[in-house]
């Protein structure tokens, strides 16, 4: 019985092959045409709309305003500025509260408890000073802005506004070989690059999606803003008279962010014309009907879905990073810690590109999260420069309340204005954090594109800082 079926199955396949030669190549066209003709027939019979034009009048009126030549861009800038302003100003208070709770209250309590049960010093250091502290740091810096930024962004998305932004900006991105929706994944990247990479799912054309993924790192993420602001304030703002200092340092930070946007376009352009030229591309952008957003539901799901997932991944990576940081500063060979070995070894390289060994080691150790780069740098500087009376001991990250103290410490570590400028550039141009890299791997499923995303910005960062340093020396600054 089975044998008989198989035999005739082969006959059927052979017959199909024969028939296919006469079919012509446009079977897909023919099938779709017939299906749609059928769908139109059915839909005409069952749907009655009283007045086609009036029914969608509201949507179209709104669309004409949102996508108009005059109002489109100002409206977009206004809304995005509002979102960023709400995020930045709204995050300060809960951030301070969280850090007060997690770092200033719970950590001493844990230390106290560990001491009272007589925990070995190294276990206490590894668990509390290393792993707990790094995680607490990431959570207190990362959580509040994300918990504000993502729901706001999601509300705009649910309403249907974001696809219109993509529509408005498409011409600009098209010129760089990218998709208009990249405007949104880039904006998302200002909140968190990992979330930005996940958001590229909305780009349904393979080439443009890869471009958006690889260049997302050029959007200065939430974890890197504090670094920029600190350095701009204590080094660049200090150059200007006191009354202008705030403004100048703000310009410096915005300048770096804009440089990131510029590099997004430049890199997109070159990628689309070189390595990604052969990838398939199929453009379409649907503008969905406007829908009244369901505010509470959105806040709930976006916190659970976006914030929660990103935060969870960050914690998973911060725990081992905390351990690595603590261990590197505490495991010693001949009285010198691993961190110090590394720093001395990398110092010439660092100085050659206008940074220093401490910064490079900090970037290697703090790969899981940009949030802990500055605390790690401070800790390592104390360790290497042999400053006493500052910090909480080897391997314990810390922050200083006063910017003047930070400046003193960094000067002791041999920092100059050039170091600060280069660190600001390097903070923009280095490999994505490990959370983002993991996300890129998950989304692309390709080791090749993950490697490209990791190496491209580092190479650009090293090249940029190198050129800046050599020019700086050349002009004898």
């Amino acid at each position: 019985m089975t044998q008989k079926v198989r035999n005739s199955a082969a006959d059927i396949v052979a017959e199909a092959q024969k028939l296919r030669w006469d079919m012509g190549g446009d079977l897909h066209d023919q099938l779709t045409e017939s299906l749609y003709a059928e769908a139109a027939r059915i839909s005409d019979r069952v749907v009655s709309r009283p007045d086609h034009a009036a029914a969608r009048g509201f949507d179209r009126t709104l669309d004409r305003i949102i996508t108009s030549r005059i109002w489109g861009f100002p409206l977009m800038l206004l809304l995005l500025t509002l979102v960023f302003w709400l995020t930045i100003s709204g995050a300060n208070v809960p951030s301070a509260l969280l850090s007060g709770l997690l770092i200033d209250t719970i950590q001493p309590m844990l230390k106290h408890a560990a001491a009272s049960i007589g925990l070995w010093w190294w276990l206490d250091g590894l668990l509390i000073d290393g792993m707990y502290l790094a995680t607490a740091w990431v959570v207190s810096v990362m959580l509040p802005p994300m918990a504000i930024f993502f729901p706001l962004f999601t509300l705009l998305e649910d309403f249907g506004y974001l696809p219109r932004v993509a529509f408005n900006l498409d011409a600009l991105f098209h010129r760089a070989g990218a998709h208009g929706k990249q405007a949104l994944t880039m904006t998302m990247g200002f909140g968190c690059n990992a979330a930005g990479v996940v958001a590229t799912r909305i780009i349904d054309s393979p080439r443009e999606r890869l471009i958006a993924i690889i260049t997302n790192n050029f959007a200065l993420c939430n974890g890197r803003w504090p670094t920029q602001i600190l350095l701009a304030t204590i080094f660049i703002g200090a150059l200007a008279p006191a009354e202008l200092a705030g403004l100048i340092s703000a310009f410096a930070v915005v300048g770096i962010a804009l440089l990131g946007v510029l590099l997004t376009f430049v890199t997109s352009w070159s990628l689309s014309r070189t390595v990604l030229r052969g990838e398939a591309s199929a453009y379409s952008l649907e503008l969905p009907p406007y829908r009244p957003p369901r505010i509470w539901r959105t806040i709930y799901t976006s916190i659970i879905d976006r914030t929660g997932i990103v935060l969870w991944r960050a914690i998973k990576f911060a725990l081992p990073a905390g351990a690595a940081i603590w261990l590197s500063a505490n495991i010693q060979f001949g009285g010198v810690s691993i961190a110090e070995y590394l720093i001395h070894w990398l110092d010439p390289v660092g100085l050659f590109i206008g940074l220093n060994g401490v910064i490079l080691v900090a970037y290697i150790l703090a790969i899981p999260a940009n949030e802990i780069v500055i605390p790690t740098i401070l800790m390592l500087t104390v360790l290497v420069a042999g400053v006493t009376g500052v910090g909480d001991g080897a391997g314990v990250m810390f922050e200083l309340q006063s910017n003047a103290d930070v400046l003193t410490l960094l000067h002791a570590g041999g920092w100059t204005l050039l170091t600060a400028i280069n660190l600001m550039l390097f903070s923009l141009l280095h490999n994505p954090c490990s959370t983002t890299l993991y996300t890129i791997y998950r989304e692309t499923g390709s080791l090749k594109w993950t490697t490209v995303s990791a190496l491209l910005p580092v190479v650009m960062g090293v090249a940029t800082t190198f050129v800046v340093t050599q020019l700086w020396h050349l002009f004898g600054l």
Partner: protein, 356 residues
Amino acid sequence: MSTPLLNLLVFFLLALSLIAGWHYGRGFLRVLRRNREFKARVLREDLLKHLLESRLSASPLPKEQLLRALRIDEHELRDVTQDLEAHGMLEADLQLTSAGQTYALRIMRAHRLYERYLAEETGYGEQEWHRYADEREHDLTEQDIAGLARKLGNPTHDPHGDPIPAQDGFVTYHENSHALAGLVPGQLVRIVHVEDEPEALYAELVAAGLASGQYVRVLHADDQHVRLSCEGREVRLSYRAAENVTVVADLREDEHAVPEHGVTLSSLQPGQHARVISLSQRLRGSERRRLLDLGLLPGTDISAELRSPGGDPVAYDIRGSLIALRRKQADLILVEPPADDNGPGTSNVIESNNES
């Protein structure tokens, strides 16, 4: 201080050499790989392929033309011919044996499948297909070819309209096909093949936007030029380029109903609506399927709704959904001229000067 200057100089030289290395490096690697053994095989395979093509299309292949195509001299041709005769692939007078034909069919299958793959699944341009396929045809293993065929849904024709030999070597050509160059004005024909060699003539055909599967009407023909109406545009070709296009003239009944008074979708102004005539054959692969799936089909009513502040893209109402298309896509969609239209859209209407 000359050190920084020196450093910068070294850096830029290094960067330049890296870029140059990337640009030419792959070619360099190929040169390294192409040892004598490999080159000899490529030559053998290319010769067999040319002989097979000439036999299948029943067009004789003069020796000079063969030498030019293979870029060799008489001497080399004699060597490679002897070699192939020794392997039982060729008989006297450059006649393929059945073993030679089987071998050549496999190379042809690999070449055409790969061209199809490039056209459907990648972003490479028409003029690159042939070159890449010419390289890859010699590398693809039997397994690669089978995998490619599977992935592409066992296609029967390559993007130029040539049949892809089946795994068992079965291949069939269009009967009653003619060169586009020899037709009389007024005739409506369907393009079944656009020859991609030589490169200069193919470039002219690509620039003219001709592709296999299109319906064209001859407007004017002399021994210098051929003028056509094709997908709403008027196209002028040199006689030699037109010789490289093969068409079928005796169309089926339903094929005569193709409307010719079309304008491109991109000429529609916001507020205007029109009925789709056809999607250009140059709209291929995933891009074509996407538009079809969205319901953009012949006969669909479509209206331009919004123009992006940057001028491009334009959002169209397609079956109740608002879909933005870029200009280069809308240029490839032919619609009937909007009835109430006095705008700039009318400028590229083509009036066929014959009965339709």
